[in-house]
């Protein structure tokens, strides 16, 4: 997994609550058996004027000029700012893969849906919870600024705006450690194989039907 330490980048405003994973990556793209290549279809239904399908070449489609992703000032954006309950709905990790494949490294919102939040950490995408007021400030400043670039420091747990305002955010120690070091979760868990085996032996005695 890619490490996350510090990151500065252009913001991409997604100004609506309850952005669901169906919207982030529509169902027809979930038929892929791969992890890569979802970026061109990130926010597909909003991004293009004509319907999309894995069989259709995206280059031949008409982009929706009103959608942020198609506006030139957001080219190369890597930090998405969203509203409450970002990533709700389906558990599809493809939503996170689409964001990272597009180049998004962090998402800032007042709240996230649980599974999306978890999935992000597994893919080096940092979800940051700030207060509604702080997020509102980012939206307001972003609208008023031509090139709005913010800086994230995971070790210090801060988000810094161009004007120098610094917001701190919370993160579980264990998740932070894994992101900072780009560690593979499975490898970490397998270091505790013996504990798992001990647990299984105990449960086999207590609840043998679970192992029958």
């Amino acid at each position: 997994m890619e490490k996350f330490t510090q990151h500065s980048g252009l913001t991409l405003p997604m100004d609506r609550p309850n952005v669901d994973t169906d919207a982030i990556i529509p169902k027809q793209y979930l038929k892929s058996v791969k992890r890569a290549g979802f970026g061109p279809n990130l926010f597909d239904d909003w991004r293009y004027l004509d319907p999309g399908d894995p069989a259709i070449d995206n280059a031949s489609r008409r982009p929706n000029p009103d959608f942020v992703l198609n506006q030139p000032q957001y080219d190369g954006a890597s930090i998405l700012i969203g509203r409450e309950n970002f990533g709700c709905g389906s558990s599809r990790e493809h939503a996170v893969w689409a964001l990272t494949d597009y180049g998004i490294r962090a998402v800032i919102a007042p709240s996230f849906a649980d599974i999306f939040f978890n999935n992000s950490f597994k893919n080096g995408l940092l979800p940051i919870v700030l207060s509604e007021d702080q997020v509102e400030q980012l939206f307001v400043e972003e609208t008023a600024t031509e090139v709005y670039q913010i800086a994230i420091d995971l070790a210090a747990q801060t988000v810094t705006t161009p004007a120098g305002a610094s917001f701190s955010f919370e993160i579980d120690e264990f998740r932070k450690y894994r992101l900072l070091n780009g560690l593979d979760d499975i490898g970490l868990t397998l270091q505790h194989q013996d504990s798992v085996k001990t647990y299984e032996e105990r449960r086999k005695a207590e609840a043998p039907w679970l192992f029958a």
Binding site: P17, R35, D45, K122, F174, T189, V196, L210
Partner: protein, 472 residues
């Protein structure tokens, strides 16, 4: 000492070890797999040269992509076919039990788990699917995970988890005739909002929940995720135990009594404390219909579409306006004046035998309204289909002009050929009314099976209780 909640008990039973920051390594008793969220997990396993920790803890079934008609032709869409074949190959390669497309036990993953007894009280159950919360209805801790976590469970039989806060949702008193588990859970979501349960595991309790069948409780827990909760659950009672008995994967003679004794502990103790308690009166809950593009946008069938002008929160008001435009609805229109184009009875929320019986009861002796283009009835599993046919339900549906299909997710998410055309309006028993969920620019209204059929036979949303009392 304060008593423990059901969630505390299920959690503690499965902790393998605890990290310094309080996150725990949690043991998983059962993993359910389907074709959409598992291929990359198996691929990851192979690339790292790992093998499943406990093959017998996994059960696989294709459901999202399978056709619900003319199965003998196979899956025509080559991309979907590859995905189902990939699941078949992975299950074969690793020796995981799978109910393949031709197997009568095939069906929607959240329907077949309980149906087979692969879902048991007291288990931790995961699946790469958000509606895994369904299985909590049997007194289990069940939650949806992403593909990386699917791989993690395959490789280690564990997950790193942080304990959620606890919420008790109590439905006091009983609900009226014609009001179902679906209406209860929609009313709860309407009250607490789609983010109201974020960070929580919800236990549903109270007389109205106790009065529900285990299947009705599954409908309620299924949609806990739509309230943002990590899990939904209901305490074990005699109904749960009767439901589980004699199912293919359930404990048999030697272990049965021992299991039942253990399961009887699976309830919140008197004096257990919850972080949040939400109460609703069963008598206040009417049949529900969603009007917008989020399950929290829901009202009673007798009500009108809300007016965004009455909403003071700006972000919410904009969301409402956007939803009304998308749904092609006017503020203040009465719900029962809204005509439907198509009707879908199915999905892991409402495709079990009781759902089909409830649908058939309304359909009996009536027929599809002229203006309704299509009514799909999609059973949740091959065994449910067989049972319904033995009871003659299929004939009632066919006589009413409905289509009787093979089991799968179908028009719940429209990954197969069953879908809405742009701007078509559907009364659907599924769980999500998001933009384009049932097809590009489709318009979904979530309802119970009885309410869906009421719309199918009248052509517009109708309080099903009117059809039950006087006939048409």
């Amino acid at each position: 000492m304060a008593g423990k909640t059901l969630y505390d008990k299920l959690w503690e039973m499965h902790v393998v070890r605890t990290e310094e920051d309080g996150s725990a390594l949690l043991y998983i008793d059962r993993q359910l797999l389907h074709e959409v969220t598992s291929p990359q997990a198996f691929e990851g396993l192979r690339l790292a040269q790992r093998t499943p920790w406990r093959v017998d803890a996994n059960l696989a079934v294709p459901d999202h992509n399978v056709p619900t008609t003319e199965r003998e032709l196979g899956i025509i869409d080559p991309v979907a076919r590859t995905q189902v074949e990939t699941l078949d190959q992975n299950a074969d390669e690793f020796g995981i039990t799978e109910f393949k497309m031709g197997d009568i036990r095939q069906g929607i993953v959240h329907v077949i788990g309980p149906e087979q007894g692969a879902t048991l009280p007291g288990m931790t159950i995961v699946c790469g699917d958000s509606h895994t919360s369904t299985h909590g209805a049997l007194g289990a801790l069940a939650f949806g995970i992403g593909t990386s976590e699917v791989e993690h469970v395959l490789a280690t039989q564990c997950l790193v988890q942080k304990k959620s806060k606890s919420m008790l949702v109590r439905i006091n008193g009983s609900v009226g005739v014609g009001v179902t588990g679906k209406d209860i859970v929609l009313a709860v979501i309407g009250k607490i909002g789609t983010a109201g349960g974020t960070g929580y595991a919800i236990e549903f309790a109270g007389e109205a929940i106790e009065a529900l069948s285990v299947e009705g409780r599954m409908t309620v827990c299924n949609m806990a995720i739509e309230a943002g909760a990590r899990a939904g659950m209901v305490a074990v009672d005699q109904k749960t135990i009767d439901y589980v008995k004699d199912r293919p994967f359930a404990p048999t003679a030697a272990h049965w009594e021992q299991a039942v004794t253990a399961w009887q502990e699976l309830h919140s103790d008197a004096g257990a404390t919850f972080d949040t308690i939400v109460e609703l009166n069963g008598a206040d809950i009417a049949p529900q219909v969603t009007w917008g593009t989020s399950p929290e946008m829901v009202v009673a069938v007798s009500a009108a579409v809300p007016d965004p002008a009455d909403e003071t929160d700006e972000v919410k008001r904009n969301g409402m306006e956007r939803a009304l435009t998308y749904m092609g609805l006017e503020a203040s229109a009465s719900i029962d004046s809204i005509p439907v184009d198509k009707v879908f009875v199915g999905s892991c929320t409402n495709s079990r035998i009781e759902d089909l019986r409830a649908a058939a009861e309304v359909a009996k002796g009536r027929s599809k309204a002229e203006s309704v283009k299509q009514v799909l009835i999609v059973p949740g599993s091959g065994l449910i289909k067989q049972q319904a046919e033995q009871e003659g339900l299929d004939k009632i549906f066919i006589e009413a002009g409905f289509e009787w299909r093979d089991p799968g997710c179908s028009m719940c998410l429209a990954m197969n050929a069953d879908r809405l055309e742009p701007e078509e309006r559907c009364a659907s028993t599924s769980n999500r009314n998001f933009e384009s969920r049932q097809g590009l620019n489709s318009r979904t209204h979530l309802v119970s099976p009885a309410m869906a059929v009421a719309a199918a036979v009248t052509g517009h949303f109708t309080d099903v209780r009117e059809l039950m009392e006087g006939g048409v």
